[in-house]
Structures are given as structure tokens and as C-alpha cells.
């Protein structure tokens, strides 16, 4: 089996008494779009800076093509970075910025000019080569930073919160463009972000980090649909977490489980590979807001409850409703707004329901 492009093996880094990165291992394959996702302070930036060579791990190794990178300064690693602040050299034109890594590699002038023109075309900035960074808009700066980081043909591109400085509309456009550039060049991308939309939309695999450790690693869909922990379910998307205890005995393997939350009895599913549950064990049931059905007429599903609409947050394409169920459970339910559905009002009596498969039992 060939060595992965980047192998992080048991890497640990502490600042004082705080373990910023705690025994993290992961592989990044060539040409892959990988995302490190997590709240601020979870260690994702530290991990990225160690891969770039700006920080030294206290323990563990980082390998590139199976070769240990320890001792290689940042300028000797075939890894480039797109900085959060973009870090464009203010005293150089756009062209000179992009030519910087090429000059350092000792490339000839004609080749440099050719490559710079190619990069400008790639990021659709033809004709702006003579501008200075302070004459560019935020979106243009991001493109120059991307072009500069890619110009030297790195094996891996690190992107530190690449879109955080852009406004919402531009962020969405740039997200698609980043993914397209990545596919076009086939360079492996490692994006570090606290914005789950960014990670989910672009990456082929996501590692969610929390307090220096990887909480879960997998395809975005798998991580979102089957969160491994209560924390993950709460961190990703809009999930209802209902605390309860396992009711009755638990059949082996996957299947519906009954969970009692106060007066209410819920039916939820559990992963085949999850640790077996005991009767009476404290658990949480996680249900995505968008998986909860909302209707005025009684539906036909496993978990049906009656409730009253307490609050409505209208978001344009959809609305989020806060519904107090009879009993003591309050849930959030999201519903697409369509012209033919009668709008719900505060105080309306509604039925909510969800398939058992949409509700997941997670250990507390």
C-alpha cells in the first residue's frame, strides 16, 4: 500500500499546561479535499501550523510520502498556506506576489511570467497583475492569496479560515470556486475552519476536533447523519437533544430502542457498532430539526406527538418552529416554506413526528 501524502502520527503539542493538540493521528491522501472543523481553540490551527512547519510537535511525527518532516523549516516543505489575513506583501504588485515562490525556486523570468499569467487566469484576475494589494477588494485579495499559494505547485495547500473575511454572498461563490480550482489542479487541500457549511460543502472528508482531539472523522454526510457523540450532534447543524433513559431491555445490534424522557416514550435507532446499551442507562436522543415533520392533520409515523407552536423564526426559504409538546419536551422543527402550505401561527396546535431512523441514541 503506498504511503499517504501526509500522515500525522500521534502528534501532541502543549502550551504551558494546555494541550492544544492531544495525540492526533490522521492521513491525507493525494488530491484530497480535507477539512479540519471545530470551534475556536480546539487545536485545529495549531495542527495546521505544525504541518506547515511553524510549530514543532512535542511528540509524534508528521510524514510526507512516508518521510519524516521533522527538522524541515517551512521554506523547505512542499506545503504552502493561504493565510487567514491573506498576508499579501503590501509593497509588491499582484504579479510580484504571485512570482515570489517561483523566484525562490530559481525559476527563469520567462517561465515565471508564464506561470503568473496562468495563475491569474485560474483565479480570474487577468489584467489586475500590476495592482497593489491595497487596491483590491476582499474577494480579489483572497484570489491573489490562493494564486500565490498555488503558484509554486505545492503537494499540499493549507487554507486557514479562507473565507472568513468575505461577506456571505461572496463566501458562497468563492466556496464553489475553491472546490473547482482544487479539482482542476488535483492538489490536496487541507482547509481549517470553524464554519461547518464551509467544511461540509467543499470537503471530501471532515475531521471534527474538540479540545485537541479528533471527535469524529469521515465523509461530511456520515459525520452529519451519524454523529458519534452528543457533543457532535449539538455542534453540527440544528439538532434537538432530548435526555432520557433506556426503557426495557436492549436487543443486540441495530434497531429501534425505546427511550423514556419524563412522561414521553420515544423510539430511536442505534448504530450497529455502538457500545451496547443497558436498561436504565442515561442517554440522549438526537433529532435534526429538519427531520421533524410538522402537520395540522395526524400523520402516520412512529413517533407522533401533539404540541403547541411557541415561537416562529422565519428565515425566508424555511422557518424554524419551537414547539412545546404535551409532556415536558420542547423541540425545534424546521419546515420549508411553500406557497400552498397554510402558515402556522403562534399558539396553533400541531402534530410533530419523525421516523425512528432519524432519531439517534447517543450515550451521555
Amino acid at each position: 500500500m503506498p504511503a499517504p501524502l501526509i500522515a500525522v502520527e500521534g502528534v501532541t503539542k502543549s502550551y504551558g499546561t494546555v494541550r492544544a493538540v492531544d495525540d492526533v493521528s490522521l492521513n491525507i491522501e493525494g488530491g484530497e479535499f480535507f477539512a479540519l472543523l471545530g470551534p475556536s481553540g480546539c487545536g485545529k490551527t495549531t495542527l495546521m501550523r505544525m504541518i506547515a512547519g511553524f510549530e514543532t510537535p512535542d511528540a509524534g511525527r508528521i510524514l510526507l510520502d512516508g518521510r519524516d518532516l521533522a527538522g524541515d523549516p517551512p521554506n523547505r516543505r512542499p506545503i504552502n498556506m493561504m493565510f487567514q489575513s491573506y498576508a499579501l506583501f503590501p509593497h509588491m504588485s499582484v504579479e510580484k506576489n504571485i512570482a515570489f515562490p517561483l523566484r525562490r525556486q530559481g525559476m527563469g523570468s520567462a517561465d515565471v511570467a508564464q506561470r503568473v499569467a496562468d495563475m491569474l487566469r485560474l483565479v480570474q484576475l487577468q489584467g489586475l497583475g500590476a495592482r497593489r494589494p491595497d487596491q483590491l477588494s476582499g474577494g480579489q485579495k483572497a484570489r491573489v492569496a490562493l494564486a500565490r499559494a498555488l503558484a509554486g505547485r505545492p503537494r499540499l495547500l493549507l487554507l486557514d479560515e479562507p473565507l472568513s473575511a468575505l461577506d456571505r454572498k461572496l463566501r458562497e461563490e468563492t466556496r464553489f470556486e475553491l472546490a473547482q480550482v482544487q479539482r482542476e489542479l488535483g492538489v490536496a487541500f487541507l482547509v481549517v475552519t470553524h464554519d461547518q457549511d464551509e467544511a461540509m460543502a467543499m470537503a471530501q472528508r471532515v475531521a471534527v476536533m474538540r479540545a485537541g482531539r479528533i471527535e469524529q472523522l469521515g465523509a461530511p454526510r456520515a459525520v452529519y447523519e451519524r454523529p458519534a457523540s452528543r457533543w457532535l450532534a449539538a455542534f453540527l447543524g440544528d439538532a434537538n437533544l432530548i435526555d432520557g433513559v433506556v426503557e426495557g431491555s436492549m436487543p443486540q445490534g441495530a434497531g429501534p430502542v425505546a427511550v423514556r424522557a419524563g412522561e414521553t416514550l420515544l423510539s430511536a435507532s442505534v448504530d450497529a457498532d455502538a457500545a451496547p446499551l443497558q436498561a436504565g442507562q442515561a442517554v440522549s436522543v438526537a433529532i435534526r430539526a429538519e427531520r421533524i415533520g410538522l402537520s395540522v392533520d395526524p400523520p402516520t409515523q412512529d413517533n407522533i406527538f401533539c404540541g403547541e407552536v411557541r415561537d416562529i423564526a422565519y428565515l425566508g426559504g424555511s422557518s424554524v418552529y419551537r414547539i412545546a409538546c404535551d409532556g415536558d419536551v420542547t423541540v425545534r422543527a424546521a419546515r420549508l416554506e411553500s406557497a400552498d402550505a397554510a402558515p402556522l401561527r403562534r399558539g396553533d396546535r400541531v402534530f410533530i413526528s419523525w421516523p425512528s431512523a432519524a432519531a439517534r441514541v447517543l450515550a451521555r
Binding site: 521554506n75 504552502n80 498556506m81 506583501f89 503590501p90 509593497h91 525562490r104
Partner: protein, 262 residues
């Protein structure tokens, strides 16, 4: 609310400017006085400028001052920049506060004390006093000012620019030469000009550490004024003013050029 000054404010402003510039204006005016008596206006003349050019002692003192100012400002710029880099770059190293205090102390220390201390040192080390002792003394003082100016620039410096340069393949030396230095150059030039003008008008330090043949212009002027103010001195002071003014304007223009150029 309006930002315009009332009559009262205007009066205060005029008074303040008069306080600052009337003596200098008088000096410039009297340098064109035909009369030999300093306080009596005898018509317009440039003869004192002509006679100044004949005054060997003043001219040689001006030449000494110029050489001392250029050399000491150069040394001060190099040392001050290095000190500022150490303060801004090496994090919270042990003794950093003490280091900073010792860098900045000469700015507030009485010059008489510095002068005396340097004199004692030169005597103890049996160094013959001359041009170089003045240069060393002025570099010592000018260095603090360069360090302050450059440190202020480095404190606002985005570290990720240097990291980006390293990330893109530049070694430490290239990073400094291609990114750090061009960006702090205006501050270094400003520090150089500051050190230059401080050296040019220093009287106290030079009196302590200069030797025969290294009399600076302020010392020569002072010696001559004790025998009575002559219009020649007025002319010389006017030229000095003009020279410093040109240097400052050049510095400003250079700073602007650096900022505009790529």
C-alpha cells in the same frame, strides 16, 4: 457643532505660533542686516553670508559636524534597528523589560551625566579624544531614538507576512531582506534623520568628549557668541535651519515614495 475656531481660539493660536517662530524669524531677518550692530536695522544685505564663506574656523566646524552626524546616524540606525528587532521578535525573553529600559534610558538621562560617563570611560581606556569619540557618543544617544521609532513600526507589523515569505520558500535572510526590511525601511529612514539632527545640534555631549580638531559647529558657535553675537552667526544659523528643513522634507518625500512604490 462646528470645528471652526472662534476669535478667542484664533488669538491663542496666533500667540502660540508667535511664541515659537518670532525669535527664529528675527534671527533670519537679522542675518540679512547690513549693519554690524545686531539690534539696529541698517538695510538689506547678504554680505554676512559672503564673509561666512571666508571664516575658516566656522566652515571646518560645520564640516566636522556633518561628518559626525552622518557617521553617528548610520551607526545608530544599524544598532537601533537591531535592538528594536530583538525587542519585537524574541518574545518575552528573560530580562526583556530590563533590556527595554536600558535601551530607552539614555533618552531621559541628563546629557551631562552621559557626557561625563563617556568622558570617564574614554579616559580610563586611554582613548584619544577626537572625531570618533564624538561619533560614538552621538551614536549612543541616537540609537535609542532609532530603536523607539523602528520598534513602533514593528509592533504594528503583521507577523503572518514573514511567515508567508518563509512558507513560500524564502529562508530567514531572504525573508528579512525581501519582506521585513522594505516594510520597516521608512521607520529606519525616519530614525536616521532623527539621529542625524540630534547629532547636528548636540552641544553637551560633544563638549565632553571632543578633542582638538573635532570642534563641532554648536561648540564653535557657542564659543564665538561668548565674544558677542555677530551677524555672521545669524547667517550661519539661517543656513543650518534651511539645511535641516531640506533634510526633513527629503525624509518625508522618501517615506511617501517608499509607500507608493512596489
Amino acid at each position: 457643532m462646528t470645528n471652526r475656531l472662534g476669535y478667542g481660539g484664533l488669538l491663542v493660536l496666533l500667540f502660540a505660533f508667535a511664541f515659537l517662530y518670532v525669535p527664529i524669524g528675527l534671527l533670519v531677518a537679522y542675518s540679512f542686516n547690513a549693519s554690524k550692530l545686531v539690534t539696529v536695522w541698517g538695510g538689506f544685505s547678504t554680505k554676512w553670508y559672503a564673509s561666512l564663506l571666508q571664516n575658516e574656523a566656522l566652515l571646518s566646524a560645520a564640516w566636522v559636524s556633518l561628518r559626525v552626524a552622518v557617521a553617528s546616524a548610520f551607526i545608530a540606525s544599524v544598532l537601533g534597528t537591531l535592538a528594536a528587532l530583538a525587542l519585537a521578535r524574541y518574545g518575552r525573553f528573560r530580562g526583556r523589560t530590563a533590556f527595554a529600559a536600558m535601551i530607552y534610558a539614555p533618552m531621559v538621562m541628563p546629557e551631562v551625566v552621559i557626557g561625563l560617563a563617556l568622558l570617564l570611560m574614554f579616559v580610563t581606556l586611554d582613548v584619544e579624544r577626537g572625531l570618533w569619540t564624538v561619533i560614538i557618543a552621538h551614536a549612543t544617544l541616537g540609537m535609542c531614538f532609532v530603536a523607539v521609532v523602528v520598534h513602533a513600526r514593528l509592533a504594528r507589523f503583521d507577523r503572518s507576512l514573514e511567515e508567508a515569505a518563509m512558507d513560500l520558500g524564502a529562508g530567514p535572510v531572504q525573508t528579512f531582506a525581501l519582506v521585513t526590511l522594505p516594510l520597516i525601511a521608512p521607520a529606519i529612514v525616519a530614525g536616521f534623520l532623527l539621529a542625524f539632527t540630534i547629532s547636528l545640534d548636540d552641544f553637551v555631549l560633544a563638549s565632553f568628549v571632543s578633542g582638538p580638531g573635532s570642534t563641532t559647529l554648536p561648540m564653535r558657535i557657542y564659543a564665538q557668541v561668548r565674544l558677542g553675537v555677530t551677524p555672521e552667526i545669524n547667517a550661519l544659523s539661517t543656513l543650518l535651519l534651511g539645511f535641516v528643513g531640506v533634510v526633513v522634507l527629503l525624509g518625508l518625500a522618501f517615506g511617501r515614495l517608499l509607500r507608493r512604490r512596489g
